[in-house]
Symmetry: C2
Subunit: 170 residues, 2 copies
Amino acid sequence: MEALETIYTRRSIRTFKPEPVPEALITQILEAAMSAPSAGNEQPWHFVVISDRALLDAIPKFHPYSHMCHEAQAAILVCGDETLEKHKGYWVQDCAAATENLLLAAHALGLGSVWVGVYPVTERVDRFRELLRIPGHVTPFALLPVGYPAETLPRAERYNPQRVRHNRWG
Amino acid sequence: MEALETIYTRRSIRTFKPEPVPEALITQILEAAMSAPSAGNEQPWHFVVISDRALLDAIPKFHPYSHMCHEAQAAILVCGDETLEKHKGYWVQDCAAATENLLLAAHALGLGSVWVGVYPVTERVDRFRELLRIPGHVTPFALLPVGYPAETLPRAERYNPQRVRHNRWG
């Protein structure tokens, strides 16, 4: 798919077909995630690919916006690692850029996904650490259920010229 | 350009040709930025397009990694607005997703750009507020100088299988 079209037409997909996602596609979208820019190229990220049904079904027990995990065949937990920071305070932005690449790559490959917020909600961070045995220096950041879309959503027109200024605010 | 190729081959571009960037392309990349997902679709962003030479030249006086502003014909300051948040604590992630879309769209259109970090470095935030008369509830987040690339960089291979785990950390 063409890049601008991919960016303009990506939507949050919350219902999925039962077909599993081929491992090769998961690798391609992780490759996209890790192609993101980061402060001083610090790449302060880790990814946990969750495909175990019991783990997927456990997530909606503590995360209120993750019901689609019951249907998704896989989910990727993007995590940040402050010990990898070269520039203090930038890991969140780096992980968000990686997450956006991941969503776009999924869409480009005919998959669907949705950005389920984890950090900075402490309870969600703690529960993911517990469930997946993630060490204390690694912070669960965002969850991306991934699958073949069972819904088709039209392009969302979000361009708002009132949010654009030239040279000075006013 | 194809989406995955765009994601994989995007690099930070820091030297630019003297040709100005057509306004229509700036609009297309802002459209890409505003197509980003955000928490509860809150879209907590503003964009200041800087093309005034005196303003562009003023930036490197206070920002140590912005020397390319002297050469760039334009720069986009992505800003966050906490008063637009529906989900507290998510504006940084939302703005980072918009910033990544902006970088990818620039690359897809044959332009180059680089993510120059602003927030959370207080001095940079304050100096941008002053220079561009940005109100207190709006936070300068990242600066993106944009132009026709005067350098060609090979794809950076950043995929690292050691950063991928399955189902549980260990």
